[in-house]
C-alpha cells in the first residue's frame, strides 16, 4: 500500500523474480551465457537511480530477506506475482523457476501469486509438468519467454502449432493470464525475434485468455501498440518501461506512457517492477508523482490522473488475478479516462 497526498494505492507488482544467477548455479560449458545473461540484467539496473544500484555479486543472488524487505517492507507492494524463467540450459537449477519462487512464496501466505511457465518444445513431458505445477502451486498465469534455448532450438513463436496445444491445455487447467516476453533469438534467425505478430494470432484464437505483453513489447513498442488496439484481451506490462526509462530518460518515458495511454488505455496497463532488476520503491513513488509534461508536444495524449494510476499500479492486475482489494482502495465504476479504443472508435481497429 502506498499513500500520497491523501490517496491510497493498492499495489500489485505483476512481474518480479527470485533468481539465483550466481556462479555456483552456472552450467559447466555454458558459463559465458549464464554470465552474459545476468550482466545484461545488471546493466538494465544501471538505468535506475544510482542509490538503488547493487553490486554484481548481490545482484546475482539476493536472499529471501532482501526480497521481502525490498518488495514489501520498503517497496509498498501488497501482492507480488512471480514470473518464472527457467533457462536451464545455462543455470543448473534454472534461473528463476516456478519451484524456487513458490517454495519461498509459500512461507508468506497472501503475499505472492505463483505463476508457472511452459515451453511448447517440451512436448508431452512439458504438458505433464504444467499440469503438476498448476495443481501444486495454484498457478493462474504463465510466463512465456519465446527466445529460450532448448535442446539446440533457439526459441519459438506463440503461433506455432505446438504452442497452441499448450495454450489450449493451459486454458483447460484454469490458466487465465499469459505473460509474454520476447527475446533476441528465434527460429529461424533471419526473422525479427521481437515481432509481436504471433501474440496477435494467439490472442485472436484464444479470446478467453488475457495476453500481457511484458516490457510493452520493447523493442517493438510501435507494433505492440497497434496490435493491442485491435485485440481486447491484450495488455501492456509496464515492467522495464518504468524501470529503464522513468529515471534515465524522462522525456522518452513521457512519450512512451503517452503512446500507451493513447493506443492501449489505462484500463489495460499493469505495473511490474521486474525486481530484482529494479526495486519497486522508487518506481511506485516516482510513478505516483509523475505527470505528463505541460508542453504542446504532449498535448494530444490522454491525461493520466490519480484514478488511472491506481488502476495501473494495482487494480487492473487485481482484476486479472481475482485479488481481493479492500474497499478503501477501490474506485467508483466510471473513474478514470477511457482507453484508446473508445477514443478512436472504428477507424483504428478497422484500418
Amino acid at each position: 500500500m502506498y499513500e500520497s497526498n491523501g490517496e491510497k494505492y493498492f499495489v500489485v507488482d505483476s512481474h518480479m523474480h527470485y533468481w539465483n544467477a550466481a556462479p555456483d548455479n552456472w552450467v559447466p560449458g555454458a558459463e559465458q551465457y549464464a554470465e552474459g545473461w545476468i550482466k545484461c540484467f545488471h546493466a538494465y539496473q544501471g538505468l535506475g537511480p544510482p542509490e538503488t544500484h547493487w553490486s554484481l555479486e548481490h545482484f546475482e543472488k539476493y536472499s529471501e530477506d532482501d526480497l521481502m524487505k525490498d518488495v514489501f517492507e520498503d517497496g509498498h507492494v501488497d501482492v507480488a506475482i512471480f514470473q518464472p524463467t527457467d533457462l536451464k540450459e545455462w543455470y543448473k537449477e534454472g534461473f528463476n523457476t516456478t519451484e524456487r519462487n513458490a517454495l519461498m512464496g509459500e512461507k508468506h501466505p497472501g503475499k505472492f501469486i505463483h505463476n508457472t511457465r511452459f515451453d511448447p518444445r517440451d512436448s508431452d513431458a512439458g504438458l505433464e509438468q504444467l499440469r503438476r505445477n498448476v495443481e501444486r502451486f495454484g498457478s493462474k498465469g504463465v510466463k512465456l519467454y519465446t527466445a529460450e534455448w532448448n535442446n539446440g532450438s533457439r526459441g519459438y513463436k506463440l503461433s506455432d502449432p505446438g504452442a497452441y496445444r499448450f495454450l489450449e491445455a493451459a486454458q483447460n487447467l484454469g490458466i487465465k493470464n499469459v505473460h509474454v516476453h520476447k527475446g533476441p533469438t528465434i527460429w529461424p534467425l533471419d526473422k525479427d525475434a521481437f515481432d509481436v505478430a504471433d501474440v496477435d494470432h494467439a490472442a485472436t484464437d484464444f479470446p478467453e485468455l488475457n495476453f500481457i505483453v511484458e516490457h510493452v513489447g520493447l523493442p517493438r513498442i510501435d507494433d505492440f501498440c497497434y496490435m493491442a488496439t485491435q485485440e481486447p484481451n491484450v495488455y501492456a506490462g509496464l515492467s522495464v518501461a518504468i524501470g529503464a526509462l522513468m529515471y534515465a530518460r524522462p522525456q522518452f518515458f513521457a512519450r512512451v506512457i503517452g503512446e500507451l495511454l493513447f493506443w492501449v488505455g489505462e484500463d489495460k496497463m499493469t505495473f511490474g517492477s521486474d525486481y530484482g532488476i529494479w526495486e519497486p520503491k522508487w518506481q511506485v513513488e516516482g510513478f505516483v508523482d509523475w505527470e505528463m509534461p505541460d508542453r504542446p508536444e504532449f498535448a494530444d495524449y490522454p491525461k493520466l490522473g490519480t484514478a488511472g494510476k491506481k488502476k495501473i499500479l494495482g487494480l487492473n492486475a487485481a482484476k486479472l488475478y481475482d485479488i481481493k482489494v479492500p474497499d478503501e482502495f477501490q474506485l467508483p465504476a466510471s473513474a478514470g479516462t477511457p482507453g484508446a479504443q473508445e477514443v478512436l472508435g472504428e477507424p483504428v481497429a478497422g484500418a
Binding site: 545473461w37 510501435d222 534515465a248 522518452f252
Partner: protein, 261 residues
C-alpha cells in the same frame, strides 16, 4: 596518396589526461558512419558501437565493434559487422579488412562468417533459412515512418493543416536533415524520393495516403519514431554501463539536446 592517408589535422592530445588513442584516419571513420544499426536507424559511430578502428601503413584495416548487451539480436549484429566490412574494404588504399564484434554470444559465428564472406545463412548454419534482405527492408520501412513524423511534426507545429500534408510533395517541404534522411531511406526502398514525389505514402505499397487514413498514418508514424528513439535511449544507457570509454565518433547523450532525447 590514399583517402586514408590524407587525414586533416594532426591528432590532438587527450583532454583530461586520459589514455592516448591512436589517431583514426578520417576516411575510415567516414566509411563507418555510413553503417547504420538497422533497428535504431542511426550510424554505428554516433551510437558508440565502434570500439576502435585503425589502418596500418600497409593498408590493413582493423575495426572492433561492440554492442550494448551480450545478447543483442544476432541478425542485426551480423548486418552491422557485414556492412562495416563492406564499407571499409571498399576504401581506396585498404588492402585487407578485419571487422571483429566483441563480447557477444554469437561473436564467433558472425566474425568468422563475415571474414569468409559466407553470408548469414551459412554463418548460422541450420539456424536461418534466408539472407537478411527482408528484415532490413522491414526496418527501412519503419525508418520511413519515423522519418515521416520527423518531417511532418515541425510542419504541423508551424500551423500546417494536417489535410494539407496530403497534397504536399517532398520538394515543397523546407530543406532539413530529417527531410534528406527521409528521401534517402525512401530511395533505398525503391520508393519515390524526388521533388515531385508525394510527402505521405504507404511505405509498403508506395500508394498515396487517403484522407480517411491520414490520422492513423500520422499516429503510426509518431509511435514508430518514439519506439525507435526510446530503444536508442535504452541502448545508449546499457552501452555506457557496459563500457565507460566512449566509442570512436560517438555522440554522447550530453551532446544531444533534451528535446531530442
Amino acid at each position: 596518396m590514399t583517402v586514408l592517408a590524407r587525414g586533416g589535422d594532426p591528432p590532438k592530445p587527450p583532454e583530461h589526461g586520459g589514455p592516448a588513442r591512436p589517431p583514426v584516419p578520417p576516411g575510415l571513420l567516414a566509411a563507418l558512419e555510413t553503417v547504420r544499426d538497422p533497428e535504431l536507424d542511426e550510424p554505428i559511430t554516433s551510437l558508440g558501437f565502434v570500439a576502435s578502428c585503425t589502418v596500418s601503413a600497409d593498408g590493413d584495416a582493423e575495426v572492433r565493434l561492440r554492442l550494448p548487451t551480450y545478447f543483442c539480436a544476432p541478425n542485426f549484429a551480423y548486418l552491422m559487422v557485414a556492412d562495416a566490412y563492406d564499407a571499409v574494404s571498399a576504401l581506396p588504399g585498404v588492402r585487407r579488412t578485419s571487422v571483429v564484434l566483441e563480447d557477444h554470444f554469437a561473436s564467433d559465428a558472425i566474425n568468422d562468417g563475415v571474414a569468409a564472406q559466407a553470408g548469414f545463412v551459412q554463418s548460422f548454419d541450420g539456424q536461418a533459412v534466408a539472407e537478411l534482405d527482408r528484415l532490413r527492408a522491414d526496418f527501412l520501412r519503419k525508418a520511413v515512418m519515423a522519418g515521416t513524423d520527423q518531417v511532418c511534426r515541425p510542419l504541423l507545429a508551424a500551423g500546417t493543416d494536417p489535410a494539407a500534408l496530403l497534397a504536399m510533395t517532398l520538394g515543397e517541404v523546407p530543406p532539413s536533415r530529417a527531410l534528406t534522411r527521409l528521401r534517402e531511406r525512401r530511395a533505398e526502398l525503391g520508393l519515390p524520393a524526388g521533388d515531385d514525389a508525394p510527402l505521405l505514402i504507404d511505405p509498403l505499397s508506395g500508394a498515396l495516403v487517403s484522407a480517411d487514413a491520414l490520422p492513423l498514418h500520422l499516429r503510426k508514424a509518431k509511435v514508430t519514431r518514439i519506439s525507435i528513439e526510446a530503444n536508442g535511449g535504452i541502448c545508449r544507457g546499457m552501452l555506457r554501463h557496459r563500457y565507460d570509454i566512449p566509442g570512436q565518433g560517438e555522440t554522447l547523450l550530453s551532446q544531444i539536446p533534451e528535446e531530442d532525447q
